[in-house]
């Protein structure tokens, strides 16, 4: 890995105005729901909010106008999503479609697929989930066994996906499946777009340890999708998925999921905080500021058409550590009852319980460190 070069974060247009407009829009349109919903808000589903956000032009921003998108720069979208996350807006419904499925359909999809799906995504009305993990293929993604066999009528899909976030409210799944018989490991895989109302699909909830229903298991029993459901090139699924994961790993969600807790800590501390609390606020601020620089630089590199695979992994690794440590460090310093009813206590409890997932979703810590090590020239 070469020494770090800071890519200048230089979006076109008036960024201060973009922020101000969005902040003004949020004061009117953001649901004033419970403060706990503002933490980890990219897992908060609110279709009404997503639709309103889409109507205001803040979803599908980088998609071309002919597909209903905003024709905006990638870094303008970055500014918008960091504002949404810092405000704790409930962006979970459209999050995956906006972040990765839409861009991937634009890049690899057929014209028919673009016309069919992108306008709904840009409206904040069409939601997507990602079919990667399977019972036997977690970190070892190349062990995928779900098959799609080409027949005269189309592709016949059999198998099972698991840990599929949002499958229960999504309209489509972009799935990694084995299209080539007898193929092994990362060869012979392809991506297919599956309408989730197709007969033969069963979606069952998996309730997580916080009592939430975010992820699911999805069963495919002889599911028939048209020939045109294939996305990109047959057999190139591994390459396409790897590119997709780069989009997934470096965004501001990797350090802003717990921002509501930092804000609550600062508000609870008041303008003249106890020295231990001041110290903690200082440390967390220094880490967050640095992460923001790394994340913006990585986004700028991505926007410049380069592949920041390793940088994206660095952002994810450091961001996950920051977000997992934050509630623990707050608890160590601030006297907060576990069952306390104030904002700080409730956010703290929610994030302590939610945070183990941070270094699992989007690639485990061990896999991410392996990618970084390879970037360093090891193994």
């Amino acid at each position: 890995m070469q020494g770090f070069a800071l890519y200048p974060f230089d979006p076109p247009g008036d960024i201060a105005a973009l922020r101000a407009d969005l902040r003004g829009w949020l004061t009117v349109n953001q649901p004033q729901d419970d403060v706990v919903a503002r933490a980890n808000c990219w897992a908060s589903f609110d279709a009404g909010f997503s639709r309103a956000l889409g109507a205001a032009g803040y979803v599908g921003m980088t998609l071309p106008a002919r597909y209903g998108g905003g024709d905006r720069h990638l870094l303008e979208r970055y500014v918008v999503i960091e504002e949404l996350l810092a405000a704790g807006a409930p962006v979970g419904a459209h999050w995956i479609a906006d972040r990765q499925t839409g861009p991937l359909i634009l890049r690899y999809g057929s014209e028919a697929q673009r016309e069919r799906y992108l306008p709904g995504i840009a409206k904040g009305e069409l939601y997507a989930c990602i079919g990667l993990s399977e019972p036997g293929a977690g970190s070892d993604l190349a062990a995928v066994r779900t098959t799609a066999r080409e027949t005269a009528e189309g592709w016949r899909i059999n198998g099972q996906k698991i840990w599929t976030t949002g499958a229960h409210f999504s309209h489509i799944m972009l799935a990694l499946v084995r299209t080539e018989e007898e193929s092994e490991r990362n060869a012979g895989l392809s991506q297919v777009l599956i309408d989730l109302d197709t007969p033969g699909i069963t979606i069952r909830p998996i309730i997580d340890m916080a009592g939430h229903h975010d992820f699911n298991e999805v069963f495919f029993d002889d599911v028939l999708v048209p020939h045109g459901a294939l996305v990109g090139e047959r057999g190139q699924g591994w390459k396409q998925v790897t590119a997709e994961l780069g989009l997934e790993r470096s965004g501001p969600e990797r350090y802003l999921s717990s921002h509501a807790l930092l804000a609550a800590l600062i508000d609870a501390a008041g303008p003249d905080p106890d020295p231990a609390v001041a110290s903690l606020i200082g440390e967390l601020t220094a880490e967050m500021w640095t992460l923001r620089q790394l994340s913006m630089s990585t986004a700028a590199k991505l926007a410049a058409g380069e592949d920041p695979m390793v940088e994206a992994s660095v952002v994810k690794e450091l961001g996950n550590a920051f977000e997992q440590d934050m509630p623990r460090r707050v608890q160590a310093i601030v006297d907060c009852a576990w069952e306390g009813s104030d904002d700080l206590a409730r956010l703290l409890r929610a994030l302590l319980i939610a945070s183990p997932s941070f270094s699992l979703r989007g690639g485990t810590r061990e896999i991410i460190r392996g990618i970084i090590a390879r970037g360093l020239g090891l193994r």
Binding site: F4, S279, W289
Partner: protein, 233 residues
Amino acid sequence: MSASRDMLCDTARAVFAEAAAKGVAPVEEAGFGSLLVPEDQGGFGGDWCDANEVLQIAGVIVPELPVAEVIASEALQPAAMVSLMAGAMGQALALSIEHVNMRQQFGRPLGKFQAVQQSLAVMACEVRAVEAAAAALAVRLDVANLDPSVVGFEIAAAKLRANRAVGVVTSIAHQVHGAIGFTEEYDLHRVTIPLMRWRGTHGNDAHWAQILGRQVAGFGGRGLWEVMTARGA
């Protein structure tokens, strides 16, 4: 990087290599004292992004010499130290990678072992974070025409972040090197001892954490985000 900055860095490498044997005199004679002095005042007319590159090189080649004092004013020494630390950490990482790819145990290079790979990944993340902090601080200082009073937030954040990386970087670098890294003849201590010293120089963790924490407490919870976004991008 611009061509003139490339040339500046080449000069710095050559001059610092000479200074490593002779002391700081060649650095002064080569005119690094006027690096930040505007051209119309007879200086080199460089900016802090230039200084950041030069100081990172100094952190690798001559960490024990007062190069930062030659280049920058007293008020900018904490900022200069972040660049020195980024350079020294980058060198500790480079030495560690070289060592684990070469040194064999159990019939294969250390770098083939997952435990070693994971350790070095952790270290690399810290090094990249400090490099990013130094680079972002440099951009901010240049926007502020090197007025440290306007950049107090970023100086505090960057020095604190650099300080907090020192423990991880020095301990992993020494751990993967084994006994050879603990010897006088091997180069690792030439960067790790300065890193240990610099954590407590121009403000240790507690110093900057208090300053930054009290400043941010004054912003309020929502205010932190508004201030951070107003100060860059």
